[in-house]
Symmetry: C2
Subunit: 276 residues, 2 copies
């Protein structure tokens, strides 16, 4: 593992690190914020999964999360959104290939060699950060934005017992029923839709749900609302009587100006679960 | 109008009053909490519509609302849930007739003479309380529980501009698709379902929505969840991008122990809108 940068930040350290990934078979970079408390021992961690076109850097610089995480004594991990490098397959579209891993393990020939973002987030990166930093693997929570909200929800429900709580900003809620999903699941997983269900937050919510609190925020002016399909997740959560707060926030769009407006709420929500 | 009782309460007065109702053609009784601020001039008012089998008294004695309303300087009005008296038609069932007005104007012969709860709540009682008490008719908000949540939502959306904000505890969300609704709408309004739509919160949400914030709370252990159909309201609100917070609260049932656990939140929510 290589340290790319470390900056003092709210009494803790905002670092950027790279490492050779076994899952993705390429070098991967991530951001990690450690609060001051990490100097004294392991701290809880909140995963932040980013959206389409993002790297590890977007949320780290634009979400305004570190101040609130410092206040709660929580680490933040900002993974990249896809494998990277010249050897990695890509597509001209912004929403397929690099920057658009969709948090799945690709099975199709073109993508399978590197696009293993589910395994990377579920297995490799947790082991790496708990092994190398003062992070308590028994206290993990997860959030994300847009495609990352989809990732946060599907990972949280797909790995029961792993995360205390899950939240999302403007999540893609219904990949199997949206152009933000059908195209990518088809490319990465093939045309047999039976294999897609585990990667549709609304379908997993309907089938399995989450053993803990769920919070989502989406803006009434989100320019991608028709692709997000918030209503499918809301319907599924309420139908299964999932402990949940589903909010539609007036006037907000899909941007990081929206995320930063509610990140305090989300971090407080996770802190309550992480310290319960 | 006759004063039945007045008790000092959180520095204000909890009164109970009766009057001859033009809308319902019978004597009607209501509870009214006036905070201390009402001695100096008109105060905002929060309507609390009660559920099946309730009178004006249940929420007044069991919701724990007055302390929070006093803190915010807001009046609370607790109407009855149906016309009353020996001359008024009734049914042996707990969920039809007295105590079960469903906040509609009955059109069918048996019920039409007295069951005009929509007009009573929308027109007669507002005029009565703003004319006789220090209540500001330009600052009204509305909430309710169960059948009263249905009433709060349908009245709020059916009277645009009247209420700044609407909330509900365990609301009946889909009267046209539930045994808590179909039976009563059929009895009161007749078998032509076209006339029912205005009294189905999810259908009105889908068609019209609400020009202001919406908040609902329902318990994951609500014993009547299958009758409430929270998922239909959640789906409709998110699909139309309604400013809304739809919450499913862990472990709570349908009782006033649930209502009193979240009444502070709801009163703070309305206060923010009433004082905006």
């Amino acid at each position: 593992m290589q340290t790319k940068s470390e900056n003092a930040c709210f009494g803790g350290v905002q670092g950027v690190y790279s490492h050779a990934s076994d899952a993705c078979k390429c070098d991967m970079t991530f951001g990690l914020f450690l609060p001051a408390e990490a100097r004294d021992g392991p701290v809880p961690v909140l995963w932040y999964l980013s959206g389409l076109t993002c790297t590890h850097e977007n949320a780290m610089t634009k979400a305004g999360a570190q101040g609130w995480a410092a206040e709660q004594g929580i680490a933040l991990i900002f993974p990249d959104t896809s494998p990277r490098g010249d050897a990695v397959a890509d597509d001209e579209a912004y929403d397929l290939g690099k920057g658009a891993g969709f948090y799945v393990n690709a099975t199709q020939d073109l993508w399978a060699p590197h696009y293993k973002m589910w395994d990377y987030i579920a297995d490799e990166l947790p082991a790496l950060i708990t092994g190398n930093f003062a992070i308590d693997g028994d206290r993990q929570a997860i959030t994300g934005h847009s495609m990352g909200g989809h990732g946060a929800l599907t990972l949280a429900m797909g790995l029961p017992g792993r995360y205390t709580s899950v939240s999302a900003f403007s999540p893609i809620c219904n990949t199997t029923g949206s152009d933000w999903g059908r195209k990518q699941l088809s490319a990465y997983l093939g045309d047999d839709e039976a294999g897609w269900a585990a990667h549709d937050a609304s379908l997993v919510m309907r089938e399995r749900g989450f053993d803990g609190p769920v919070l989502t925020d989406t803006g009434t002016k989100d320019q991608f609302a028709d692709l997000l399909k918030t209503e499918t997740l809301a319907e599924a959560a309420m139908a299964r009587r999932q402990q949940a707060t589903i909010r539609m926030q007036p006037g907000y769009d899909h941007s990081y100006f929206f995320v930063q407006s509610f990140i305090e709420d989300h971090i407080a929500f996770h802190a309550e679960a992480l310290y319960a």
